[in-house]
């Protein structure tokens, strides 16, 4: 069978992930977007594994899962503290550090 469709799925996941990050206002959706990107990577890795008939594809997927999970854990921990101390959980609340253009 041809892998075009798999790649189309991966491309779809990639575009949706990027759209989520760029467009949504709530921070949780941004994190969801990042997860989608990682899944797209996994699909491509497996397509590669299938194409070259080697287990490396699956090893890649395992590592990606581990690392994406780790990154997510840390980001969520930070998100909780941000919600607690900076009070907002949307993208616009993060305005403490900016160039005081009118200085």
């Amino acid at each position: 069978m041809t892998l075009e469709l798999t790649l189309v799925i991966a491309a779809l996941l990639f575009v949706v992930g990027v759209a989520l990050i760029l467009l949504r206002r709530n921070l949780i959706f941004l994190l969801l977007g990042i997860e989608l990107l990682f899944n797209a990577a996994m699909v491509i890795a497996l397509a590669g594994g299938a194409r070259w008939h080697s287990a490396t594809g699956q090893v890649l997927v395992v590592f990606m899962m581990a690392l994406s999970g780790a990154a997510l854990a840390l980001t969520l921990a930070l998100l909780l503290r941000v919600k607690h101390e900076l009070g907002g959980d949307s993208v616009d609340d993060l305005r403490l550090l900016r160039e005081e253009v009118d200085e």
Partner: protein, 164 residues
């Protein structure tokens, strides 16, 4: 027959992706993500990687998604369910960017080599052998990383640390 199944999976992922983009409440977002992940695990099965498909269900849907739910639960202030705006303030400019991205991916997609392939089943045994064979030190490194992450998360959330 295989093509039909993959098309169905494509449709499901498309549906849940669109829902994800549009839905308002983060809880619904997480659920939609779960649906697309399950569809993906079926795709992995088709690609001849049963171990990874299982892992996808257990690790991804089970652990990471649950993590999300916990986070949402902790973040959600139970008092009011306010109708917050979905899209970021400057909406149009990034939207154009996303469209451009899809256009360039389609253009590049046109120049792909032929991808006709016969699927061979690669069981968990060979993956295990690979993980602890040639990639042994890599797994050790990931182990070290995970351990460091645990220490890091603990450090961030020490109760008495909020004295600044």
């Amino acid at each position: 027959m295989m093509i039909l199944l993959i098309l169905l999976l494509l449709l499901i992922i498309l549906m849940s992706g669109a829902a994800l983009l549009v839905v308002n409440d983060p809880m619904h977002g997480a659920v939609n993500l779960g649906i697309s992940l399950l569809a993906l695990s079926i795709l992995f099965l088709l690609l001849g990687a049963p171990f990874v498909a299982a892992l996808e269900v257990m690790l991804y849907v089970g652990a990471i998604l649950v993590l999300f739910l916990f986070a949402i639960m902790l973040l959600r202030s139970p008092l009011k369910v306010r109708e917050e705006a979905r899209w970021r303030r400057g909406f149009w400019w990034p939207a154009v960017l996303v469209v451009l991205l899809t256009v360039v991916l389609i253009l590049l997609f046109g120049q792909r080599p032929d991808l006709q392939v016969t699927i061979q089943e690669i069981g968990p045994a060979s993956v295990g052998r690979a993980l602890f064979g040639p990639y042994l030190w890599l797994t050790e490194a990931v182990a070290l990383l995970l351990f460091a992450i645990i220490a890091a998360v603990l450090a961030i959330h020490r109760r008495d640390a909020h004295d600044t």
